[in-house]
């Protein structure tokens, strides 16, 4: 068991997500930054869909009851094991009784803590990802216990990764969304000609952008939306749906983020800047 001594700001179990229920209105959920989560799982030789902890901004304090190996990727978040500093992007051996705690966020927004074999929390509709409509709670609380398999010996093929420039990227690669054709030249210029900053309305459901552009009021009939869909409201607000985002919507879907761009955006916090780049 992993005991959650302190849960941190927003720490949640996430795996690759919940497939097969979009037609019932259930969002896919899963890793916000799949690029980083998959790296952590790969270093531990886990399945790509193994459940990890997604740690947002402020980390938890965790007590390991059994020996295992862990790896932290994504946002650079200083961490200590029994008060000794440890590195992100590196496989770390854990002994029975070790305590992991986190310190300062240095870069990015979401850190991924993977464990050898993945967390074995209960499956709900085929996924361990926390999402309140399905799993009641959407994040961990003090005192939670998470199951994992003990592993006392493991030789990683690669034990360390360089922190790449991924966290510094500002460009969000997009393709045209279904209603892209309704945009005027002026709107296109505004979208692709300037930087946008992340508003304080940002979470696992959606990221809103601070700067408004000329709005789009076309009559829309409700239709499907996806993680990474950029909606433009009549008042000119840009809303980028994320992994817990609703599965249908009535605002024009002007752009669609690439999978990688969703990961890039997931590492942005309030005030950070991004730019849209159209992939022809």
């Amino acid at each position: 068991m992993l005991k959650v001594l302190k849960s941190g700001l927003f720490t949640a179990v996430q795996d690759i997500g919940r497939y097969g229920y979009l037609n019932k209105g259930v969002p896919v959920a899963g890793f916000m930054d799949g690029v980083s989560a998959k790296k952590a799982n790969r270093l531990l030789d886990n399945d790509a869909h193994a459940a990890v902890l997604e740690i947002t901004m402020t980390g938890p304090t965790l007590f390991f009851e059994e020996a295992t190996y862990i790896c932290m990727t994504g946002a650079l978040l200083s961490a200590t094991l029994n008060n000794e500093p440890i590195n992100n992007y590196e496989v770390i051996k854990i002994k029975e009784g070790d305590i992991l705690s986190y310190g300062k966020l240095e870069k990015g927004f979401r850190n991924y803590l993977a464990i050898k074999g993945g967390f074995k929390t209960p499956l709900f509709l085929g996924s361990r990802s926390l999402f309140s409509s399905v799993t009641k709670k959407n994040h961990l609380v003090d005192g939670n216990e998470l199951e994992y398999d003990e592993c006392s010996h493991f030789e990683p093929k690669i034990s360390k990764l360089k922190v790449d420039s991924f966290l510094d990227e500002k460009d969000l690669m997009v393709t045209q969304g279904p209603e892209y054709g309704h945009l005027s030249d002026k709107q296109l210029e505004m979208i692709f000609g300037k930087k946008f900053s992340i508003s304080n309305e940002n979470n696992r459901m959606a990221y809103q952008l601070e700067e408004k552009i000329v709005g789009l009021s076309i009559s829309m009939i409700t239709s499907a939306t996806l993680p990474g869909t950029v909606q433009l409201t009549p008042s000119g607000k840009l809303i980028i749906l994320m992994k817990d985002g609703q599965t249908t919507g009535g605002y024009p879907r002007i752009l669609q983020l690439s999978d990688r761009a969703i990961s890039v955006l997931a590492q942005k916090k309030y005030g950070d800047e991004v730019r849209f780049k159209l992939n022809a």
């Binding site: 497939y19 979009l22 037609n23 019932k24 709900f124 409509s133 499907a224 249908t248 999978d259």
Partner: protein
């Protein structure tokens, strides 16, 4: 054979969007569902596609790999020309119990004053029509039901409520629907349904599907309390009629 002009567009690299003429029309929805059932059973068999129909569109999502848009578009247009009626489609008519007591139907009085119809007349109107599920979204298990008579078409509330209770039955414009969980919401609330619309513990978490039909029937507060308990322990028997589409 199939007369609607359909447009097909990419929606990112993992999805493709098919659109029928832009109107809310049961015949269009039926054509979409007939076609998606056909391609699911006859063309995309064994492949892991997610299919999201809503009103006049359907989105096909394939997460495993990028879609070859041009190739798939050509195939879809060809498949649409085939005899899609070879697959037999069925749909369900669900009879859902609703308590319209003013404790639950908190906006009934206001709607009655606005419309000049008595509360009884409003309830009679709501229960005498059969609605079609045009989409499921917004929240898990939230159904967009179309076919609301003109007398029951009211604007959304000017300010959304921060909390609408689970089971609340609402009216907004040409739509009616049931809140599957406590949620903020701006619809006019006229009653409460005792059957949970989304239950993640159930084998089928949301019994209803796009294209199904719904008719509400009025129950008393005592019946509501009984059915709610029966639903909780899993012995409530939903009333459903299977129809040929």
């Amino acid at each position: 054979m199939n007369s609607y002009p359909i447009s097909i567009r990419p929606f990112g690299i993992h999805a493709i969007l098919l659109e029928w003429p832009s109107r809310v029309d049961v015949a269009i929805l039926e054509d979409i569902l007939q076609f998606t059932q056909y391609i699911k059973e006859c063309c995309l068999k064994g492949e892991e596609w997610e299919i999201v129909p809503a009103y006049n569109s359907v989105t096909l999502i394939y997460r495993e790999a990028p879609i070859d848009f041009k190739e798939l578009k050509t195939k879809l247009l060809d498949w649409y020309k085939e005899d899609i009626k070879v697959v037999k489609r069925q749909k369900n008519l669900w009879r859902l119990p609703v308590c319209y007591d003013e404790d639950f139907g908190i906006d009934l009085k206001e709607l009655s004053e606005k419309s000049g119809n008595t509360i009884d007349e409003l309830v009679k109107l709501h229960t005498s029509h059969i609605y079609t599920v045009f989409g499921i979204g917004f929240l898990p298990g939230f159904t967009y039901l179309g076919g609301v008579p003109e007398e029951l078409q009211f604007n959304r509330r000017p300010e959304p409520r921060s909390k609408v209770l689970k089971g609340s039955v609402g009216l907004a414009g040409k739509q009616t629907g049931i809140y599957p969980q406590d949620s903020p919401g701006g619809w006019n609330i006229i009653g409460k349904c005792s059957v949970p619309m989304f239950d993640p513990k159930a084998k089928e978490p949301c019994f209803i599907s796009v294209g199904d039909q719904v008719q509400f029937h009025k129950i008393t507060k005592a019946e509501f309390d009984l059915y709610e308990i029966e639903s909780e322990v899993g012995i409530y028997k939903l009333e459903k009629i299977v129809l040929d589409a």
